[in-house]
């Protein structure tokens, strides 16, 4: 991915919004990559976790909010437990999902889930995905 860094983006307020929603300091990250190394979803992500953090530091709102990666994170907490700087990556990614969801931009259309799936899939999965993917 090619991205263009600009002062406008850095100062856009996106970085501080993400930090506030997550109650985290993005700048603590020193890009060791350990979060991505252990992430069970990294192989499916268009932007792996350490890059999400870097882009968020630089105010790259569109690159993050339009990514698939923010929806692929399952909050398994592996990254949080292993980050040598104590950055809570899962909280930061949740705050990016929240920015979309609070603007009513849902990721999952529950009405499109088939009747057969609704019967077969247990509530623990259905409620979990609705909580993570809908406003």
């Amino acid at each position: 991915m090619t991205v263009f860094v600009s002062r406008d983006k850095i100062n856009s307020g996106f970085t501080s919004k993400v930090q506030r929603l997550a109650d985290q300091n993005l700048m603590a990250c020193y890009q060791c990559g350990k979060c991505s190394a252990g992430c069970p979803m990294a192989a499916y992500m268009d932007v792996p976790p350490n890059q999400m953090i870097r882009l968020a530091q630089l105010g790259m709102e569109d690159e993050l909010l339009d990514s698939e990666a923010i929806w692929l994170c399952v909050s398994c907490m592996t990254c949080n437990m292993r980050c040598p700087k104590g950055v809570r990556i899962a909280e930061l990614i949740e705050s990016m999902r929240q920015i979309k969801l609070r603007a009513r931009q849902d990721h999952l259309q529950a009405e499109k889930i088939s009747k057969a799936d609704l019967r077969a899939i247990p509530p623990i999965a259905l409620i979990g995905s609705m909580r993570k993917f809908t406003s």
């Binding site: 506030r20 929603l21 997550a22 109650d23 069970p40 979803m41 499916y44 692929l72 399952v74 909050s75 398994c76 907490m77 592996t78 949080n80 437990m81 899962a90 909280e91 949740e94 705050s95 929240q98 999952l108 889930i113 799936d117 077969a120 899939i121 247990p122 509530p123 623990i124 999965a125 259905l126 409620i127 979990g128 995905s129 909580r131 993570k132 993917f133």
Partner: protein
């Protein structure tokens, strides 16, 4: 010993096998699990946003129900409920201001929550209150020759404030299997996430995870994988159909709840196991080992 008990939604339908076997095993071990009268869904996933106190209210209400019974401990078997309840409780205890705001949201409750209920997982009760020695004495049908890969997933070991054991190398399930007379198998994927709620719209990812996790267990000679979460169970067992479609060299394998293995070893009949709820039937394996 009596303990307040929170079943959670999934144990009341898709995971009856988990609930029935848990209650049977607890009863055999002298624990009477008293289900809360008016429990509500915990919300499944813990809300991670700093400002989202509203979503902590559902789990906290269950702790208030516990207090109403005059109890200060709440036990649950579903790892996901456990994690959500325990983290909400941790959040309530960590900040008086947050707790006050949560109580404001619950204006309809006659008393405020004071952070004074402990959330316990069944495995903690087994290890810390009943104790492995007491369990060993009650085993009537040892799981002889059964090689079990224990799967913790995420919710029992992460994050620290919810963990019941070491995050990278937990032992409680292996210790339990040993006491029950079975052989725990060491393998690489016991705390690797199964993909969780992605199962709803991305079952192909779960298929990859199931292939990896069960493959790693099988490579170490496991006969079965034991879980403690109905979502892990659904993904590792029911998604074997999708796994087989994507990975033609995949070998199906029965997945069971740790509580079913307890029930077997403690003398339970087949009716408490509800084997009809499994996708890959554990029956042939258990019969083959003389355990049914």
């Amino acid at each position: 010993m009596k303990l307040s008990y929170f079943p959670g939604c999934t144990l009341k339908n898709h995971a009856r096998n988990f609930e029935d076997s848990t209650l049977y095993a607890m009863d055999r071990l002298g624990v009477e699990a008293v289900e809360l009268d008016r429990w509500n869904c915990c919300g499944t996933v813990y809300s991670l946003s700093a400002d989202d106190l509203m979503r902590q209210v559902a789990p906290i209400r269950n702790l208030l129900r516990t207090r109403e019974r005059g109890d200060s401990q709440l036990m649950t078997g579903c790892s996901m409920c456990f994690n959500t309840l325990k983290r909400a409780n941790h959040r309530a205890r960590a900040s008086e201001e947050d707790l006050a705001r949560m109580n404001d949201f619950m204006y309809d409750e006659p008393v405020d929550y004071a952070g004074d209920v402990d959330v316990l997982h069944v495995l903690e009760v087994v290890r810390d209150q009943i104790g492995f020695d007491a369990i060993r004495e009650r085993v009537v049908k040892p799981l002889e020759g059964l090689r079990v890969a224990c799967y913790y997933g995420c919710m029992l070991v992460r994050p620290n404030e919810a963990a019941i054991d070491d995050a990278e190398n937990p032992r409680v399930l292996e210790d339990l299997i040993t006491v029950l007379g079975g052989e725990p198998v060491d393998y690489s994927h016991k705390t690797e996430c199964c993909g969780a709620h992605q199962t709803v719209d991305k079952p192909e990812i779960i298929a990859d995870k199931t292939y990896e996790i069960l493959g790693a267990a099988k490579a170490q000679g496991a006969d079965t994988v034991a879980v403690s979460c109905p979502l892990c169970a659904f993904n590792l067992d029911h998604r074997q159909e999708a796994t087989l479609k994507i990975h033609s060299d995949f070998h199906t394998m029965p997945v069971v709840y740790f509580s079913q293995l307890m029930a077997i070893a403690l003398g339970g009949s087949e009716s408490v196991l509800r084997l009809d709820l499994h996708h890959t039937p554990p029956g042939p394996l258990l019969t083959g080992k003389g355990l049914l």
